[in-house]
């Protein structure tokens, strides 16, 4: 039993910024950087700058000083959580870095919600970012290298998201959460992240519904993070065959971010894909009351892939209730 019910945790505010590809995509973003350098000299510094921008804006919009925020929890895709750690050195706030690849945002949200629910802290900020080219460089090939990618590959989204969690009542309630388990069904293909992460997503959704004695139709929408077009199709089949659960209200954030004409293969990936779509599309549409967000992370390391090991994956689940 790894499900937790929260009594008084709310999402008060959020801020997001995206890169140029995401700006041209399906969703209308107000804030964006014009190119992948964002006036910095390196991609890594651009990612740090985006994080700093969203963080500063959340503080400014809510009239908060460093001492008003109890805790910051966050993570990104770079080694040593570079972007988040280098951003947090600018602030005088307690910080926890978390990593579960593209599920980092949801993991950070669960940790923060727990700390707030015990009333140990009043406010907490959850932060995450990813950058297409800093992760290409880290996980794949040099940026300019024209590597031919298969159709099942995903495209790491560029952007940063910070959201403010508080004890004060607001429109969006963080209702419950389920912490995922690491699962590995023997997929070795590092281009096929959808297939790697789907079993983890399915397991976490199943455990969440079982623990809280709910039906899949209880939720207005089940929003998975970055399974991509291929992964979303696999998830439907796998849920039905393995857990006998029919997913009707499933959306995948990765497939919503870009237009079809953009060369992004099976869709977006990265820890920002889920919060970008959640805050800028799903919550703005005001159509859904009960939302289940499923952060899916492929815990792969290029070293283990080169040594021909299968890739493990994890998924964390948070249930949100929106007062319309």
């Amino acid at each position: 039993m790894a499900s937790i019910i929260f009594k008084n945790v709310y999402i008060k505010d959020e801020e997001s910024i995206v890169g140029p590809y995401e700006k041209e995509g399906n969703i209308n973003f107000a804030n964006y950087v014009k190119d992948l350098y964002g006036t910095e000299k390196t991609f890594e510094n651009c990612e740090i700058k985006m994080q700093r921008w969203v963080f500063d804006n959340v503080l400014r919009k809510n009239n908060l000083k460093d001492k008003d925020v109890g805790i910051v929890v966050g993570g990104d895709l770079m080694n040593q959580l570079t972007a988040t750690s280098y951003n947090m050195k600018n602030y005088d706030i307690a910080f926890l870095g978390v990593y579960s690849a593209c599920a980092s945002f949801v993991e950070a949200m669960i940790v923060t919600a727990n700390l707030l629910d015990t009333r140990f802290f009043k406010r907490g900020i959850v932060i995450t970012s990813s950058h297409n080219l800093s992760s290409e460089k880290q996980f794949r090939f040099p940026v300019e290298y024209g590597c031919l990618k298969p159709k099942r590959a995903t495209f790491t989204a560029t952007g940063a998201v910070a959201s403010l969690l508080t004890n004060e009542v607001s429109r969006i309630k963080v209702e419950s959460a389920t912490i995922g388990k690491v699962i590995d069904l023997g997929i070795k293909d590092p281009f096929h992240m959808g297939a790697v992460m789907t079993p983890a997503a399915a397991l976490s959704i199943y455990e969440h519904l079982k623990d809280l004695k709910r039906d899949a139709s209880y939720y207005d929408v089940i929003l998975t993070g970055d399974l991509g077009e291929v992964g979303a199709k696999i998830l439907k089949d796998y849920m039905l065959e393995n857990y006998h659960i029919k997913l009707k209200n499933h959306l995948d954030a990765a497939t919503l971010l870009y237009r079809e004409s953009q060369e992004t293969f099976a869709g977006a990936s990265g820890p920002v894909a889920l919060p970008l779509v959640l805050f800028n599309k799903i919550l703005k549409e005001k159509k859904y009351k009960k939302i289940l967000i499923v952060g899916t992370g492929s815990l792969h390391s290029p070293v283990m892939c080169n040594q021909k090991n299968p890739i493990p994956a994890i998924a964390h689940v948070v249930s949100l209730e929106v007062g319309l």
Binding site: T42, E144, G146, C147
Partner: protein, 145 residues
């Protein structure tokens, strides 16, 4: 669910790559690049009165320069999506792999970045190229004396 059963579901939904089209594109485009290279060699011989060996060297230098320049301008990787392996297999691909790695790591310092990572992708081409040349030469000597 067993791993084999899951692999079946994955296989069912994984989109097929157009291997035949990709291979044909590479074959035809690669051939055209070969003709182009021959034309450049012949022109060099005609214009500058070079021997075949010298003209070939200059042709290779020209192609390496163009591939590196287009990589630096960010055009080469887009061309690869159209011409497929026709640009990766010839010497242009080799130059491209070095230039792209050099560009990527230049911000990490000249020695620790550029120097250490320049041959990140090209290293295996050089190593196994030399080893296979070595073996082939031995076989050649044994057969032809």
């Amino acid at each position: 669910m067993k791993k084999e059963e899951y692999k079946k579901i994955v296989k069912k939904h994984t989109p097929k790559e157009n291997r035949l089209v990709n291979a044909l594109t590479s074959f035809v485009m690669g051939g055209l690049f070969g003709i182009l290279a021959q034309a450049v060699t012949d022109l060099y011989r005609y214009w500058f009165n070079l021997t075949i060996a010298d003209a070939t060297t200059w042709m290779l230098i020209t192609f390496i320069f163009l591939a590196s320049l287009l990589t630096a301008l960010g055009i080469f990787d887009r061309l690869v999506t159209y011409f497929k392996s026709a640009l990766i297999i010839p010497i242009t691909g080799f130059a491209h792999s070095m230039t792209s790695a050099a560009l990527d790591y230049k911000s990490d310092g000249m020695v620790t970045g550029l120097g250490a990572n320049c041959f990140k992708l090209a290293g295996s081409v050089i190593l196994f190229g030399i080893i296979s040349a070595f073996i082939l030469v031995i076989i050649g000597v044994i057969i032809y004396g």
